[in-house]
């Protein structure tokens, strides 16, 4: 064991200071969410702020009943379908793109920046551009194509960066060996490449699913007559805020956390298996 020197004590103090900062940071980031969780169990006569007037499931039950902003369950289903489709497309496209970027090809620089542009263009611009374009050519926007379209533009760069990182650490000799032994490209991909990159594909899918499930700005003008869940949440904000909204927020957040947890578990299992 090393002796305690002034230098060592100073370092420990610095580390302790940073740890306290980390704790405060977490309170800042999670504190409001916990206040919301607690207030969703507000008694029937309570309001949207503390103090708690009793403890009940009143607002949760109200959430399950018919709501003022529309059919929440249908919106939830739409959001989930959209998130799953976005997840699949993101995982597929980002894998294909990253595989193309393993080679040199003309226009690779332009394509790289084009993919990254999806990160840089604010949702409100995409919403406005596509909505007015569709309007002009006489097609009504709908969540399952115009909504889907802009969601993938937003999630693709994240998945792409993940897959680029995966292929940066990829040992291409494994594929060469398979090729030398006479395997065709499909066999090489199926038997060698895919098993090694599956954890990365899961991570890319996580970005696709969660970012789409929560996306609001890009769907604003593009979901058509039927809302996704974030749009319903936004609609309920224009009315008098009630603890029902907190119950909805809590339920949605818990669902997100469960999904993140599920993705991390799948990733860990696949990652261990691929080693």
């Amino acid at each position: 064991m090393e002796r305690s020197t002034p230098e060592r004590r100073r370092k420990a103090r610095v580390k302790a200071g940073f740890s306290v900062y980390y704790a405060i940071f977490l309170i800042f980031v999670y504190g409001p969410m916990f206040a919301m969780f607690t207030l969703s169990f507000q008694g029937p006569r309570g309001g949207v702020t503390f103090p708690m007037r009793g403890l009940s499931f009143f607002w949760w039950e109200k959430l399950a009943g018919p709501s003022a902003v529309g059919d929440l369950k249908a919106s939830l289903v739409r959001s989930l379908i959209l998130a799953v489709v976005v997840m699949i497309i993101t995982a597929l496209f980002s894998t294909m793109l990253a595989m193309a970027f393993r080679k040199r090809f003309r226009g690779s620089g332009a394509l790289f920046y084009a993919v990254m542009a999806g990160l840089m263009v604010p949702g409100v611009l995409l919403s406005l551009g596509l909505a007015s374009l569709l309007r002009q050519i006489g097609i009504a926007p709908n969540w399952w194509y115009s909504g889907l379209g802009v969601h993938v533009v937003w999630t693709l760069p994240f998945g792409f960066l993940v897959m680029m990182a995966v292929f940066n650490r990829f040992d291409a000799r494994l594929e060469e060996a398979a090729r030398d032994m006479g395997a065709d490209e499909w066999t090489v991909f199926k038997e060698v490449t895919l098993p090694l990159i599956t954890p990365g594909i899961v991570a890319a899918g996580l970005f696709g699913f969660t970012l789409s499930y929560d996306e609001f700005a890009r769907t604003t003008l593009l979901s058509g007559a039927q809302n996704t869940l974030p749009l319903d949440i936004n609609a309920s904000l224009t009315q008098r805020v009630q603890p029902t909204l907190f119950a909805l927020g809590t339920a949605s957040t818990i669902f997100s956390l469960l999904m993140i947890g599920l993705f991390i578990v799948i990733y860990t299992i696949l990652y261990r298996r691929s080693r």
């Binding site: 207030l39 503390f50 007015s132 002009q136 609001f216 907190f246």
Partner: protein, 335 residues
């Protein structure tokens, strides 16, 4: 070695017999052509790999942006728009009624739309600065002070999780904190800092800033963390051995090497904040307008060309901002 060389010089001479037993191997050019014909590039063909995503980006990213630009020149018909080539929308964006009239009180006053864009920009810069100040120590702690990799990953994920949850809900969650009976007021009263609840916490610039910082700060932690984690630890050790103080090490090594991460994080937050429109409604009670809300308002009243002009100017402002950041830091080396 020498034999091979002799052989190859021999075969390359013009006089070498061809078409007989022991004929010269194909010339260099011939060999290259054969190779080009039969060489199988490993992996799937690039065009097939990039075609679907490229097509998708053209339809859902480039056409929308291009149409915004085109629609800025069209004219509004009250319930829609019609093709035209007019600069009226730009004019209305920049100048108000009495702009060129010295007797008018609005002489040389920029229009409300230009001022809104300026406010959006100014606000974005201040929130960015606060995010940087909060995020940097966080990323530094995670990358430099936490030594065990598993702990590092766990603590990092814990900070990043909110990024994967709904930002609208996180904005809503500020309501119970900030109101007259909100937690912050209650807390300040309980410690005796104030006697009566203060009302400026909610629906004010304070609440707006606070909520935006909380919503976007994690976006800066990620990139800064990755660039700090990439720094070669032996550099720091070498500097320490040569007697550098911790401050010197930070100024000379850590800060310059982490700049690309800072730039990426700042660009990310910058573009998100410039396009921000929902948070203002939730925690500012819609009392302020950003260019984002202006765009949506004009869309709602069906003046699409004017919405497009605001959107286009927002894009221009963003590009200027991004170029300025890239001027300061060259992140292309990182990508």
């Amino acid at each position: 070695m020498t034999t091979v060389e002799t052989y190859s010089t021999l075969t390359r001479t013009e006089t070498a017999p061809r078409g007989l037993i022991g004929a010269a191997p194909p010339t260099h050019a011939e060999a290259e052509e054969v190779q080009r014909k039969y060489r199988r590039e490993p992996g799937f063909p690039v065009p097939i790999l990039i075609a679907p995503a490229t097509l998708w980006l053209v339809v859902f990213l480039f056409l929308p942006l291009l149409s915004i630009f085109i629609f800025t020149f069209w004219k509004s018909t009250g319930h829609g728009m019609a093709p035209a080539f007019t600069f009226d929308n730009y004019r209305a964006f920049f100048v108000t009624e009495g702009f060129f009239d010295p007797s008018n009180p609005d002489f040389l006053t920029p229009s409300i739309f230009l001022r809104t864009l300026w406010t959006t920009f100014r606000f974005t810069i201040s929130v960015m600065a606060i995010c940087l100040i909060l995020a940097y120590p966080m990323a530094y702690f995670l990358s430099m002070q936490v030594e065990d990799f598993k702990w590092q990953l766990a603590l990092f994920l814990l900070v990043m999780v909110p990024f994967w949850t709904s930002y609208l809900i996180r904005a809503v969650a500020w309501l119970p904190m900030l109101g007259r009976h909100g937690l912050i007021n209650e807390f300040l009263i309980s410690i005796g800092a104030i006697d009566e609840p203060v009302s400026f916490f909610l629906y004010s610039e304070f609440s707006y800033t606070m909520a935006l910082v909380q919503l976007y700060v994690v976006l800066a932690v990620g990139p800064i963390f990755f660039s700090l984690a990439k720094i070669d630890r032996t550099l720091l050790e070498a500097a320490r051995d040569m007697g550098a103080t911790p401050f010197q090490i930070f100024r000379e090594i850590i800060a310059p090497l982490s700049l690309p991460g800072v730039a990426i994080g700042m660009i990310f937050i910058f573009v998100m904040l410039m396009g921000e429109f929902a948070t203002a409604v939730v925690v500012y009670g819609g009392k302020t307008s950003t260019t984002g809300t202006v765009i949506l308002n004009y869309y709602a009243i069906a003046n699409y060309p004017f919405a497009a002009v605001n959107a286009f100017m927002l894009m221009v402002a963003m590009m200027i901002g991004v170029i300025v950041i890239l001027r300061v830091v060259d992140i292309r080396k990182e990508l």
